[in-house]
Amino acid sequence: MALPLAILVGRWLMMAGGVSPLDAGLTAEPVAETINRLGLWALRALWLALAITPLRRLTGWAWLAPWRRPLGLWAFAYGCIHLLVYFVLDQGAAFDLLWADVVKHRFILLGMATWLMLLPLALTSTRASIRRLGGRRWQALHRLVYPAGGAAAIHFILRVKGFQIEPWIYAGLLLTLLGMRMVPRRRIKV
């Protein structure tokens, strides 16, 4: 999960070294391209995190379990950098402009909502937090990941121009992953 970020950082270092954005592989509009790539990886990491539990149920592979938390945290990390680059280089680090954008554009609002929903989950991702909150309350809080995924999927759909298939594929995958949770648990042994 660190690899796409490392590649992006490498490309920015090339640009810092005088290579044109086009030759650095970030198109003629490197800011937009960077924001898009970060968002896409945030989405992918979140989808993978959401895939762990249904995959475990389906296959009984217990070794998948420890991957869930790091994938969730990677999703949040990519989301944070995605938001930060947008805020600094697209909104000129001005909170009034950011607020105006959030109020005006539904897709920005949904992106912000996604980040705000993931924030408490990242903050309570430690074992100590589970102990402090108690397993049941911690689990209830972490169900926020479902609406967060939904908001992220719609954020992507609303973002693209015209009818493009890619965001709908992600939305379909999310529905599948959430739908698999509806299947009554039978085989899972915790």
């Binding site: 592989g25 198109t27 937009a32 697209d90 000129g92 554009h105 609303l158 015209g162 009818f163």
Partner: protein
């Protein structure tokens, strides 16, 4: 007699890189690709045959530096060749721009079919440096070569009941693979009101940067309406029709609440996705303010006097 007006973008013989240096540079670039420092696309880009020159006199300047030729060629919205900004530069090679004809018909006294080679010689060519503002809030400055649309329209003698001009892009999925998807209704269509079409700023481009248009920029003939969002400036035109009613336009058909018929650059009217009061000039790091009518208000604001530009977006 052919009078050559030296174009400031054209390097003189003395400025050209000596061949030895050129090959040397290529060897270095190839080596970098070999060890994975550069993507292989930089090599193929270097192998493109140079496009034919167009001799023209510069008649309008933008007063700002032009966006680099490489950026103009590699950052395009041309859904006939894919959604990605670099897809058109990769996929437009399949487009055959010769032979090419443009049908001009509808409410005109002298309809006809004009061959692209004839069209290139029909009117004195001009070079105009225009700002180009995309509805997605990015912009460029581009030196176009071509002629005013008014010259072509006058030639075919519009009838008095002609009130709009409808434009149509080539429809051929074998050359334009994007037309196999249903991202838009094909062919791409656009339109202008007669007074907009006859306005001296409205331009038919055959080239940019002193050479014929690269395919991905709308070869061999495209419209350029600098005070409107880029999607109005329809590419690879095969038909121009004069009509009495407002013609359908592609993006308006797809999302009528997002893309209006007029689509004048207007910082006061936001798109559901993009804040239109700012734009990023390609090559800049931070956004800049967007000007009403993309900075051409002095030329064109009069066309819309008394119109509600919020409703007629």
């Amino acid at each position: 007699m052919l009078i050559r007006n030296p174009n400031p973008h054209h390097p003189t013989e003395a400025e050209a890189t000596a061949e030895g240096h050129y090959w040397n540079r290529r060897a270095i670039v190839a080596g970098m690709v070999g060890v994975g420092l550069l993507p292989s696309s930089v090599l193929s880009a270097g192998e493109e045959p140079a496009l034919a020159r167009l001799v023209a006199k510069r008649t309008r300047d933008a007063g700002e530096p032009a966006t680099s030729y490489e950026n103009v060629k590699h950052y395009n919205n041309f859904y006939e060749f894919g959604f990605g900004k670099e897809d058109p530069s990769r996929n437009a090679g399949r487009l055959r721009t010769h032979p090419w004809t443009v049908k001009v018909d509808g409410l005109v006294a002298k309809p006809g079919v004009v061959d692209i080679d004839r069209l290139t010689r029909l009117f004195p060519l001009e070079e105009r440096v225009y700002r180009h503002r995309c509805v997605e809030a990015w912009s460029m400055v581009i030196p176009w070569t071509g002629f005013p649309l008014a010259a072509l329209l006058k030639m075919v003698e519009p009838l008095s009941n002609a009130r709009y001009v409808a434009f149509e892009t080539l429809h051929d999925p074998s050359q334009m693979p994007g037309q196999r998807t249903r991202s838009l209704q094909w062919p791409y269509v656009e339109g202008l009101r007669m007074d907009e079409a006859m306005h001296p700023l409205t331009f038919m481009a055959l080239g940019l940067y002193g050479r014929v248009l690269p395919n991905q920029n709308g070869a061999p003939l495209r419209l350029v309406v600098p005070w409107k969002y880029g999607f109005k400036s329809i590419k690879s035109i095969v038909r121009i029709r004069l009509v009495d009613r407002q013609p359908p336009t592609s993006w308006n058909l797809t999302a009528p609440d997002e893309y209006g018929f007029f689509a004048n650059v207007n910082p006061a009217v936001d798109h559901p996705r993009w804040t239109q009061s700012r734009e990023r000039r390609i090559g800049d790091w931070l956004p800049r303010r967007t000007l009403p009518f993309n900075g051409y208000a002095d030329d064109v604001a009069g066309l819309y006097r008394g119109m509600n530009l919020v409703r007629n977006f």
